[in-house]
Structure formats: C-alpha cells, structure tokens
Point group: C2
Chain length 431, copies 2
C-alpha cells in the first residue's frame, strides 16, 4: 500500500504544526503503508519571497502581491525574470520539506526530503506555470525501500535544461496527484483545514452536509465549492490518470470526501451539490449587426484582453440586428466594456452596451442528471415558487446554471438545496 499525503501552507505554518504533521504521517506509516508526503511552503513564505522580488524591481517600494498569479503582470513573459522567480519561490517549499523531514526524525521516524532535481518531476519550460511532462521515480522508490517517509517539496519540477519550474497556483495539489499517478499510489490524500467537500457552502446553508463520494466531473463543475479545498487543476489531473483523491481534515481522523471516477460510483444521486458564484457580471449588447463575423469580432476583443467569458446567449435576429448577452468575471467588467466601446463594427447604427454587476450564478451539479429527465424543469419550478426571476440559463450534461439577481443568490441556493433533498439524503453520487 502506498499513499501520497499533501499538506498545505497552513498545515506547516508553524513549527508546532509541522510537529503535528510529523505525528500524522508516522501514524499513517504505522498502519503499514508507504508514505510519500508533498508539502507547500510555510504560509506567508511564498508571498514574502515574491515581495522581495517586487521590491527589488521597484527600487525600495514595498509591493506585496497577496493574490492572483504570482508574476507581476508587467513582467509576465520576461522569461529570464520568470526563471529567476521560480528559482526564488521554490525555496519556500524546500524549507518546509527539510523541516518536516527533521520533525519526523525528531519523533523517531526515518525520513528524507527531496527537492527539484531529486524528485524527478519533469516539466515543460513555461516558468511560473509549467506543465508536467513526465516523472522518473527511481529516487523516490529507492528511499521508500529504505524505509523512509519521502517528503517532497511541492509546486516544483525541472525542465529539460535542469532549470527549476513551478506549477502555478495550487501547484502542490497538482504535484501530489502527479506523484500519486506516477507511483500508482492507492490514494492521494489532500489534508487541509476543512473536513471535506460539502453539498453547498455551509456559511450560507448550515444544513449543508459533507459529500462522501463525488466524481471528478462533478467536482470540476463544483469548482466554486472545491476551490477552497483543493486546486481544480489537480482534479483534472486526477481524472486523467484515475487517481482516487481523498480530501480530509489534517486535524482529525474522520473520513473526508473521496473524489473518484464514475465507474467506482455505485449509485448516482441526481444532484450532488449546489454552488453559488457571486463573482460574475452580465453584459448585454443590443442592436448588434446580424452579419457573419460580428460575434467573432466581439468575443475576439474580449479574448485579446484575456477576459474569460462564461455563459453566452444570442437571441433570434429581428430585422437585421440581434442581442447578445454574456457573463464575465466581475473584476473584468470595466475592461470588457472599454474593449467593446472601441470596437468598430460595420453595419446598422451604434451598438448599445448594457452592463450589470449585480448578478450571480447558481449551479446544481450531479452525474445522475444524465439519466434523470426534468432536472432543469424542477430547478426552474423551485426558483419560481420563491418568485426568483431567472435571467439566463446554461446547461451541460451534468449541470444546470442560472443567472439571477445577486440579492436572490442565497435564497436560490437554499431553495435548491432543500428542493433536491440535499439536507437529508445520502450526500453522495455513490451512496
């Protein structure tokens, strides 16, 4: 039995917590399993290092980036700079890996830490956001055979030229799943400060329940629920390689949420979870010339400005012009409108641009929808009973999303959570 355990930055934020992690890891090993551990940098350390880099560039001004992709945008694409940033930032994980290995040794166990060139994770050359290409696990296997807990610095790999690369935000989750896939581990445990994935956000609906088992596809659709718990990119990786992922608390021993393939689900619930995304804004274009190429021009402008468009609805044409409505991240709304204003479309009169930040998106997700008709209709009925107006609808095979006014978001979430029986039923797509 081989298990990969991943501990995030908050789990190794202090020496006290590192000692606790060491005990946890040793307890796992005592059950007879080989253990590979993947750690993030101590909470705050990555931002401290990025801060040094930013201050260096700004001649002394303190500029701490605490959010967003970690390359200051004005330097994005400067490969020499991004290479150094990766060399710099990866040291954060090296420190926590060495400290955890020491803590395990102090507790009487055998452990060794591995960093960049020792781990064997090969990536492409995209600094700050590298993709994993392969893995040579000779060293890890060898250290496991020697009876060691192998503590790997997360977030990092090595490109073909031997340069250190990092895997982008949440990269340690991806490291863990990639190692689990390559080592054919029995499971990849993501140990975190919550005890699993819930049917919905418990801060909005206290009756939300922990999901015991969920499919990769559902987890991806429930990104807004899962993003607080684990990086969505690692779920894509787990799905691709069929790695069972177990999201659980680092503070207790209870079972958390298993993320598995649909084949391993015994029975599919119709709806597994309900998610609310407040971070969307709506743009409506009226009087759009209904000629070929117009839509491509509109969304070309947005793509050029790196704006991710979510839902798109185009109404039927009326007299040579049409309406188009779509949603963008709320933070990008101004940029989107400015881009569209600058657009010079051929044809009838000026296009009207209406924007509305006061909307939100509610999604219900479940693989059971594939075999159960009428899920969308039932959702509309539930919202109708609450007098909530639906502004837009979008569906996929296992998801129904609706756009409603922001003030009705929480009400809609609670109504759907109750209406689809998530308060009590088996909160699992494999009960």
């Amino acid at each position: 039995m081989l298990i990969v355990q991943k501990f995030g930055g908050s789990s190794v934020a202090t020496l006290e917590r590192i000692r606790n992690v060491a005990q946890r890891v040793l307890a796992t090993q005592r059950t007879g399993q080989d253990v590979v551990v993947v750690v993030s940098a101590m909470a705050g350390e990555t931002n401290r290092l990025i801060g040094l880099s930013n201050q260096l560039a700004s001649e002394g001004d303190a500029q701490l980036t605490s959010k967003g992709p970690y390359v200051a945008s004005e330097r994005a694409g400067d490969r020499a700079h991004e290479r150094e940033l990766d060399q710099l930032v990866s040291t954060g994980e090296n420190v926590s890996a060495a400290l955890l290995a020491m803590a395990i040794q102090n507790a009487g166990g055998r452990a060794i830490s591995l960093v960049g060139h020792q781990i064997g994770l090969q990536t492409d050359g995209t600094y700050t956001n590298a993709r994993i290409l392969g893995f040579s696990h000779g060293r890890i296997r060898q250290e496991l055979s020697a009876g060691n807990v192998v503590v790997c610095a997360g977030f990092q790999g090595l490109n073909a030229a031997g340069n250190i690369t990092t895997l982008g935000r949440g990269g340690s989750d991806t490291s863990a799943v990639a190692l689990a896939a390559a080592l054919k581990a029995d499971a990849c445990e993501i140990l975190t400060d919550v005890d699993g994935v819930y049917t919905t956000d418990p801060r909005i609906e206290p009756r939300a329940r922990k999901i015991h088992r969920i499919t990769y596809e559902e987890m991806l659709e429930l990104a807004s629920l899962g993003a607080k718990v684990l990086q969505i990119r690692s779920v894509e990786f787990a799905m691709k390689f069929g790695v069972p992922v177990h999201v659980r608390s680092s503070l207790n021993e209870s079972e958390g949420t298993w993320i598995v393939s649909e084949q391993k689900s015994l029975e599919s619930a119709v709806v597994t979870g309900v998610a609310l995304d407040r971070n969307e804004a709506k743009v409506t274009l009226t009087n759009v010339p209904d000629v070929p190429g117009t839509i491509a021009s509109i969304f070309g402008v947005l793509a050029g400005a790196d704006i991710i468009v979510d839902m798109i609805i185009q109404n039927a044409s009326r007299g040579g012009s049409t309406d188009v409505t779509f949603t963008v991240p709320e933070n990008d709304l101004k940029k989107a409108v400015a881009g569209l204003r600058s657009l010079d479309l051929p044809g009838a009169g000026p296009m009207d641009i209406l924007s509305d930040p006061d909307i939100c998106k509610i999604s219900i997700v479940g693989v059971g929808m594939r075999t159960h008709a009428g899920v969308a209709a039932k959702a509309f009925e539930i919202l109708g009973r609450e007098n909530i107006n639906i502004q837009m609808v979008s569906t996929s095979e296992i998801k129904v999303s609706v756009i409603v006014h922001e003030r009705y978001g929480e009400l809609a979430l609670r109504a759907l959570h109750a209406g689809f029986g998530l308060h009590e039923g088996p909160a699992s797509s494999a009960a």
Copy 2:
C-alpha cells in the same frame, strides 16, 4: 578574461546592497571580462534557518546558534539530520543568488542564477562540511557564452547521490576559489567590507598598512589577520590550484591585497605581518612519568575530546619525570583540564596540572625568513627591550610565535611591527 567575484552575506544583506552589487558586477563585465559571481546567504538568513531547525528539535524553545560550526553538537554525526540541515540551510544562498540575478536583469544586464545541481560542484558525502571532489563546468561555460553573468549560490555542492551538501563555515569563499580553479579564471576576487589584509590589526596598531601582495603560505600563517577577511580553508584551496586571490572592498574601486604563489613574488620582505591571538590558554603538567607512551596518552585524551593543541614543549627529564607545556583554545581549557584529571597514568605519584588562561600568542610571518638568519633572535631582542617575558617559543620555516602574558600582547605587537619596519617599508612580500 574570466573573473570570479565573491560577495559575502553583508554585501547582500538588503535589497539596496544587492542592487549595488549588481552595479559592481556589471561594471566589471563592461571592462570586457566574463563574470561568475558567488554569493552567500543574506546576512542573518543562515542563522534564522538553523534557529528553525534547533527550535524544532527543542519543542518550542528558541535556541539560536550564532557562532561555531552550524550543527548543534548533540546531533553531529546524525547523518540523516545533517543531510536535512544541508537541504535546509542551502536555501539561503539560493534566495540571494536569484535576487542578485534579478537585480542585474533589472539594471539592464543579462544574468542567470545557478544552484546546487546546476553548478556542477561535486563533493563527498560529509554533510555540513563536505570536501570538493570535482567540477563539471558545462552549464557555467554555456551560460557565459550566452552573454550571461552567472550567479552561483555559494556554500553548496552535490554528492554522488544527488544530495545537497554544504562546505562548512566560510564555504562561499571556498566555492568561489574552487570555481575559479576549475574554470581557470584569471582571478578570484573576494569582495568584502574591509579593503584588504593589513600588516597587523589596525585596531591595535593604527600605523598598520595594507599589504599589496602576500604569498599563500604567509596568509595561512597569518590566519588570525585573514580570518576576518576570508576563510583560511579557501586559501589552502587557492594555493593547491594556484588561483590568484584578490581581497578587496566591495565599497570602492581601490586595489586590495593579492594572495599569490611565491613564484609570482618578485622580492620577499623578511617580515610581512604580525598577528596577535588572544584566544589561547596554557597548560603545564609537572611530574609526568618519563616512560614511553605517556605523552601519547596525554594528547590522546585531548584529541578524543576534539581539542586542538597548538604549541607543545617538553622539558628534559629530571629523575624519571618530566614537564610538558602546551596551549589550547581558551574555550577548551576547562574541558582539557577535566580530561587530564581523569587520566590514570602508571608511575611515580600524581601529575600536577597548572593552567593559565591569561596568555596570548604573537606571531611574525614572512617568506623572507627562509633566507634571512637571525629573525627569531631579533624578535627576542625587540621584546627584551620592552621587558616582555617570553613564556614559550615555536618556530616554522616562515613564522616565529611567542607566548607572552596577555597584558603585554598589544605592546609586543606594536614593538614587533615597528621593529621590523612594517610602519613604513613596502608592506609586501613582493614590493
């Protein structure tokens, strides 16, 4: 032309200083030389990391080691622990290397930082104090050809198994000299906060003058003068491979002190420098049985306790017993006496142990002594004129050391400095 420049922890202690180092490096490159830079960790960082390791072991107590070999002695020899310590501590140099490379880029230059596995410095497996075995300079050559300043993290190498090793205290100086030797660099510059090596300690004798040129052998004998400036171990390395070392200030452009082979010295001064070492203590054993093996037992006890004995004098035997006098580091005096008390020697009566911490050692050094007779006699005469009693004498080919009472140390140093004409003459073994 290829030059290796080494900057210590105080030169990269702040972002402001890192920017200054970047300017200095670029100025050197503009003179048409290829530049390889070796950096230490930002001042304080190594101790911070060691402090984390110590706190981890001591369950929360803060134990910052600020001096001495960086392995807490109770863990010395614990290879698994020392391996992790090296993985941990080496990150300090990785951070400063990446930041300096960024600073050079910010200033408009081309630079790349290299760490452990990228540098190509191969060592043995002695963690925390590894010896350099070899060097593969493919990557450095390649980056130099591409027009980069190559910034190497100092202090670290890689053993045959791919584990990170560190080179012991002052290891960055040794890294720099080793790289200079392997790359056949024209010089290795040690840039520091003093402007060279002086004929004696200027805090004691204000008329001390900067030495322009000194041989490796003299530098080794003048360890107590040089140790503040560069690690003595790196001088041994430079001597072995004939690397010209230039110790100079990182704050100005003046020439510092060149440390070179004797062959490159045009003319040898009789005395090049005078050094004072207050950190010695004297032990006298009387009534020592004069039988074979006794002396071996005595110094075997001291060696077993890791005590380095400097001078040793044994008097002629009188009636079956003899006296032995030797010096040890003052910090080891108690341990030495305790060890000797426990010694059970066969033969006549109990041995008397007299110890005296109030002594110091004065050394005069110069390769010219080899060809000038009477240097020791002249030194004794100078000290005699000052009524300074000489307690012990030890000489080597290029050195005369005397032990005197601690209170006469500074007086003796000034008298010898003046008496051998160091106030005015060409302060150089190659004028």
